[in-house]
């Protein structure tokens, strides 16, 4: 030992209690070493000095090894360090006095239970000094001493990673990352500390004033791209941090992402899954955010999607989506409304903008694995748009039931093969109207008396109808007009059978109306008084219906021509096949 003066040694042994015990037990040994270090640093030999942040005691005999070790580590200049364990951090701290290199962490496997084995190597003895520090004082003081010694060391260390990044945001990040780095290696690199939290909060506010709302994906993307991390890594970070998978970041998700980015910039490899401390920090931050905003959100959500039964977690997840008060979220809401309107026209998915799809998916996803999730999402999308179209949509859906009834009734000519034809058209809105149109006559067919009588009854009695008849009344005059135009002939009755088969193939709107006409043909004869008193509302309705029908007519005629061509082709094929068959048959017979 390099101590000169047995007196010192005596003091040490006395202080550490060995004298009392008569031997150097392990705690005593630790304390002794610590005291030696203190003495070598010039501090008085007292128990309090154990708590001080001291260099390791220098032992002459063993000096070479530690020096070699220190010199060996610097070449490993890459600042890769695995998330440190608590026992390693004191090692770092002491190392930093010599070399600001995090890599040392890895060179020291955590001194395992140093209390158990006597010192045999510099490694273990250093371990003892760590544990000594831990034993000698409570963690608080050690922590503080650590903290105090850290900034000076951090500065020199972080100047290097801070250097390459020249962007202003990165620069602002660099000075703060000093503190962050300090806290990184403190207990756990994945734990967000107060300073970090504060910094993240300020950044969040810079992007989005309200802490309770969301940052859109594109905004976050632009922001994080400034960190100059490669895109795949940013993508991975996003995947880790967007826990609710909504394509946007809540405050806690933002903190998580930011923290991961900072960690990555400081050289930590990205974890494969979200570290626990980040997750817990996440949930803790989540709690204050959501309750305050939960109430109005739920109201809003209910107002918008009242008809859907949704699970509670889903509502909570989507309430965040639906929350609107801030500019960023206003954008989101606008996009959402736009999307719903767009989808309301008809659920056309092919080219919606990016945030529309995730939006839609957020609604489908929390509804985990229900087979009707997409379907419900579609229905949901169709709900919000303006009420006038809605009855039509419902009508179309309801009409599917009508079709079922038709099938049961064995309605001739209505076969499944008939149904696919209308939607095969590329343009969707007309396609959507087509089924409506088709369903119109079916509906009237299915409940012709009901429809027409109700309509006529309305005319006659001008009675208030229940809502369901609303659409029907709209369609009632529609068919009525057309039938009047086509001069409802009694042939309609005989056509009921014939036209239905060709109607199946040839979509003549007239024949369809004829088809609609036949059953009520009788009633038609009696009640031919065409809606004489067209109230303005009915007129409007009629005009709207007329317009729509004209469009569908055009569509259907186009479809008709296409199908005719296809039919021709198929016929030709059939003919050729038959002729081949004929050729082969005599061959086979002979």
């Amino acid at each position: 030992e390099s101590l000169d003066g047995c007196t010192l040694l005596l003091q040490v042994t006395e202080v550490c209690g060995a004298k009392r015990l008569g031997y150097f037990g392990t705690p005593q040994f630790f304390v002794a070493l610590k005291l030696l270090a203190a003495a070598q640093s010039g501090l008085p030999v007292h128990l309090e000095s154990v708590t001080a942040n001291l260099p390791l005691p220098r032992f002459v005999g063993l000096k070479t090894e530690p020096e070699m070790r220190y010199s060996a580590v610097p070449p490993a200049a890459d600042a890769q360090c695995a998330p440190g364990s608590v026992s390693r951090t004191p090692a770092d701290r002491s190392f930093r006095h010599l070399e600001a290199n995090v890599d040392k962490k890895e060179s020291w496997s955590p001194p395992p239970s140093p209390c158990s084995s006597p010192p045999r190597s510099p490694l273990t003895y250093r371990g003892y000094s760590y544990s000594k520090q831990r034993n000698g004082a409570d963690a608080q003081t050690a922590h503080e001493s650590k903290a105090s010694s850290r900034p000076s060391v951090q500065l020199e260390r972080l100047s290097s990673p801070g250097g390459p990044s020249v962007e202003p945001p990165a620069l602002t990040r660099a000075p703060s990352s000093e503190r962050l780095e300090q806290d990184h290696c403190d207990d756990d690199p994945w734990r967000i500390t107060e300073e970090q939290l504060e910094y993240y909060t300020n950044q969040f506010r810079g992007l989005q004033p309200n802490l309770g709302s969301l940052i859109l994906g594109t905004i976050a993307k632009n922001f994080f791209t400034k960190s100059k991390l490669p895109i795949p890594e940013l993508s991975h970070i996003w995947e880790l941090s967007d826990v609710d998978r909504d394509g946007a970041l809540t405050f806690s998700e933002f903190c998580t992402a930011f923290h991961l980015i900072v960690a990555r910039k400081n050289g930590y490899p990205l974890p494969e899954s979200l570290p626990l401390t980040l997750q817990t920090g996440f949930t803790q931050q989540d709690v204050p955010d959501t309750p305050g905003s939960a109430e109005p959100l739920i109201v809003f959500e209910e107002a918008e999607l009242s008809q859907k039964d949704r699970s509670v977690p889903e509502s909570l997840a989507t309430t965040q989506d639906l929350k609107e008060e801030q500019p960023g979220v206003c954008v989101k809401r606008a996009t959402q409304e736009k999307r719903t309107l767009q989808l309301g026209a008809f659920p056309e998915r092919p080219e919606p903008p990016h945030d529309l799809d995730p939006h839609m998916r957020t609604k489908t996803r929390p509804r985990s694995y229900s087979s009707t999730s997409i379907e419900d999402a579609m229905k949901k999308a169709e709900e919000p748009p303006t009420p006038p179209p809605r009855p039509q949509r419902n009508h179309s859906r309801a009409s599917s039931l009508d079709l079922n009834k038709l099938f049961q009734q064995g309605a001739p000519g209505i076969k499944s093969g008939w149904l696919p034809l209308p939607p095969a058209l590329p343009p969707r809105p007309p396609a959507s109207q087509v089924p409506h149109f088709i369903n119109v006559p079916e509906k009237t067919v299915q409940q012709p008396n009901f429809a027409d009588f109700s309509h006529f009854r309305e005319e006659e009695e001008s009675s208030v109808k229940p809502e369901e008849r609303g659409p029907r009344s709209r369609f009632g005059p529609n068919t009525e007009d057309l039938t009047n135009a086509s001069k409802q002939d009694a042939i309609g009755v005989s056509h009921s059978q014939a036209p239905q088969k060709p109607v199946r193939r040839k979509y003549h709107p007239d024949s369809q109306n004829l088809e609609a006409v036949p059953p009520p043909a009788v009633s038609f004869a009696t009640t031919t008084k065409p809606a004489p008193k067209p109230s303005s509302k009915q007129k409007r309705e009629i005009q709207v219906a007329i317009r729509k029908n004209k469009e569908t007519n055009a569509v259907l005629t186009r479809l008709n021509s296409e199908l005719q061509q296809q039919l021709k082709v198929v016929h030709q094929d059939r003919v050729t096949l038959e002729s081949q068959l004929e050729l082969l048959r005599p061959a086979a017979s002979t």
Binding site: G217, T218, A220, K221, I231, P232, L234, S235, H236, W238, E239, D242, R245, D246, G247, E272, P347, R349, P350, E351, P352, H354, D357, P358, R361, T364, R365, Y369, S371, T372, S373, I374, E375, M378, S400, L419, P420, P422, P423, A424, P435
Partner: protein, 139 residues
């Protein structure tokens, strides 16, 4: 357990193909490519309401003596194709459906990522993880 899983974009170029590496990957690529024809045919023949998830799942596209090919199309015309080994105990339809559902969910997760541009090949570890979980576990 699938032998090959592919995600094909709307324009019919692959966004992601992964097959069990021991086998001839080219053969699977070819199979997936030819299955696209069947997918197109099924799409055009699908019923009135394209939003119905029943029609998102296309079912068995065609069986060969070695394997069966199943298809699934999303609302944005992104197609998922799963090739399953016939020698496997034939997977029930529900299992295939659940596989597609999982694929769809993780695909939407990938799409949600603002750093992912639609049309790029999918480079997501989470997605890879899901797909690996579904592939045949060969050594």
């Amino acid at each position: 357990m699938a032998v090959c899983i592919a995600v094909i974009a709307k324009e019919n170029y692959p966004l992601y193909i992964r097959s069990v590496p021991t086998q001839n990957e080219l053969k699977f690529h070819y199979t997936v490519h030819t299955s696209l024809d069947v997918v197109e045919e099924k799409i055009s023949a699908v019923g009135k309401s394209l939003g119905d998830q029943r029609e998102l799942y296309l079912g068995l596209l065609y069986p060969t003596e070695d394997y069966k090919v199943y298809g699934y199309v999303t609302n944005s015309k992104v197609k998922f194709v799963i090739v399953v080994d016939s020698s496997n105990t034939s997977l029930r339809d529900n299992e295939i459906r659940s596989m597609f559902r999982k694929l769809h969910n993780s695909f939407t997760d990938v799409m949600c990522n603002p750093f992912h541009n639609p049309g790029d090949t999918i480079q997501s570890k989470a997605f890879d993880g899901i797909v690996s979980g579904m592939m045949v576990q060969t050594g």
